[in-house]
């Protein structure tokens, strides 16, 4: 497909805005996961602002494309995107992680636009598989997208789901691995290596694309490409940078689960503004 370069520039601008919102909401909340939120921002922006069919004012529309954030700890990125789309007022972002808020520390169904809870890693690809099978049972043509963390796919449940999605020929299912190569305890390759990752998915029967997860044109091209794949599920292995967009957070494992302090926040906002 031909990708309009103006549209790409708009999406890049939107992603920058999402990153700024992530830093601001996490700094205010005082806890949360900036690293993976920032690494997955471009993917989420592409999905919600270009690729997916959805209606923010009708979150239960039966024909909407489904998105499931399996790496639930990166919900600040999802919350920012949903707020920008109008699923709920942007002011809600200021109450992230507070008692009684609609934006929990990990996604749950208090948030308009979230269909199933996540946060406990390894279960989301199964949830997405269920959504994909439901489309088949109902004769609907929506697609299901699922964002996985790289550390997350060390969970065995992910590979049970991978086996089943190929067995059931779920070509309406697309997984994206946010491959930033950091997990809480350090580099994924040191903690529990995943390579050869593309071969693993291929051997499970998936259509595999490996891309730069911060190249908006590449993300759009890969996601749109999965719509044409027949008889098998698709996975996009998106090579990303943990903490992408904030110089001192990039590739720093510490920022997996630590929010910036006051000085760091000012610096980050300056970089993103």
């Amino acid at each position: 497909m031909v990708i309009d370069s103006r549209k790409i520039r708009e999406l890049e601008k939107k992603a920058r805005q999402v990153r700024l919102m992530i830093v601001e909401m996490l700094a205010r909340a005082g806890s949360g996961h900036p690293g993976g939120s920032l690494s997955s921002t471009d993917i989420l922006t592409a999905l919600y602002f270009s690729v997916m069919r959805h209606r923010p004012n009708d979150p239960d529309w039966p024909d909407r494309d489904r998105f499931h954030l399996s790496k639930g700890h990166c919900c600040p990125a999802l919350y920012a995107v949903l707020a920008l789309q109008g699923y709920f007022p942007k002011e809600e972002l200021t109450r992230l992680r507070q008692l009684g808020c609609i934006l929990q520390g990990h996604p749950d169904r208090h948030t308009p636009g979230v269909d199933v809870c996540s946060g406990s890693l390894g279960q989301g690809l199964s949830v997405a598989l269920g959504m994909s099978l439901a489309a088949r049972v109902s004769g609907r043509d929506y697609r299901t997208y699922c964002l996985l963390g790289d550390g997350e796919i060390q969970e065995g449940n992910v590979w049970e789901a991978a086996m089943a999605a190929a067995h059931f020929h779920c070509d309406n299912l697309c997984a994206i691995v946010d491959y930033n190569n950091y997990q809480i305890d350090g580099r994924v390759s040191d903690v529990m290596a995943l390579e050869p990752l593309a071969d693993k998915w291929r051997s499970f029967g998936w259509y595999v694309q490996a891309i730069d997860g911060h190249n908006m044109a590449a993300i759009i091209k890969a996601l749109e490409g999965t719509k044409k794949v027949k008889e098998r599920p698709s996975v996009i292995i998106a090579k990303t940078i943990k903490g992408k967009g904030v110089s001192f957070m990039e590739n720093v494992a510490d920022f997996h689960g630590r929010v910036p302090n006051k000085d760091e926040t000012s610096l980050a906002i300056k970089e993103l503004s």
Binding site: P62, R66, H68, D108, R109, D115, V116, C117, S118, G119, S120, Q123, G124, S126, V127, A128, L129, G130, M131, S132, L133, A134, A135, R136, V137, S138, G156, N157, E160, A161, M163, A164, H167, F168
Partner: protein, 311 residues
Amino acid sequence: MPELLYQRDVYGQTLVELGRRCADVVVCDADLSGSTRTAFFGKEFPQRFFNFGVAEQNMMATAAGLASCGKVVFASTFAMFASGRAWEQIRNTICYSNLDVKIVATHAGVTVGPDGASHQALEDLAIMRAIPNLRVIVPCDGPETREAVLAAFETPGPFYIRLGRAKVPTIEGRQPFVLGKGALLADGKDVALIACGVMVLEVLKAREELAKKGISAQVINMASVKPLDEGLVRRAAAGTKGLVVCEEHSVTGGLGSAVAEFCAENGPARMAFIGVRNKFGQSGAEPDLMKEYRLTASDIVAAAQRLLSSQ
């Protein structure tokens, strides 16, 4: 002779009935569809039946995804694997999301028989009962199984329904199952015998034995373990000198614990517990196992007598 039925046969037949009634009914299994009888549904509705192979965690989380799209999902395997292997998928993905997944687990308790301890779930009620939003039902016979499955279908939200492996006699004179309600099967003033599942038959036998000894026992079928019929427990505690709670399950965390929790907070009752005490099961014939683990009518009689004599 009362009619003997496999609860799982009735479950399979009820699924087919529901499948015909509602196009949104979807059934999942994990390589045990012949044993759980979900295969009955799979044969008639292959497009709405998914066998996930030996992968219970994936089955449960996938069931959640299906339910999030408006399906009423029945997910079945043996009680051991349904509750144990996939507990966290049930807790975090099905129940936290409060989705329409009806877990119907078969082959619970020691009456699994020769397969032995690895397959005899004795802790499932404890770990399922602790999960918010989840209703926990233990039907006592074939017809009650059908009623419980229909109630689960008609009631939004997640359920755990526990069935046995063996054929069980149909209990005569039983009232229809109502979610959150127990049923007084027989009245009595000295002691109340509260039971669920296969133990309902045992307490009915125990009542006859106790009558011969001049002890009047009331019998309560408490199929709805959660929500518990607190009013009925209160009346049983007030109307007798003590409660004997009987379950084919560990005495830790199951029906006995549910009754005890209520009684401890709302006026103490003398209680005795019939159940498995800090032990795994083992291989054997069902009647021998019931004896070995002190789950028979005579064990219940002895417990009731001890309870009354220690007043």
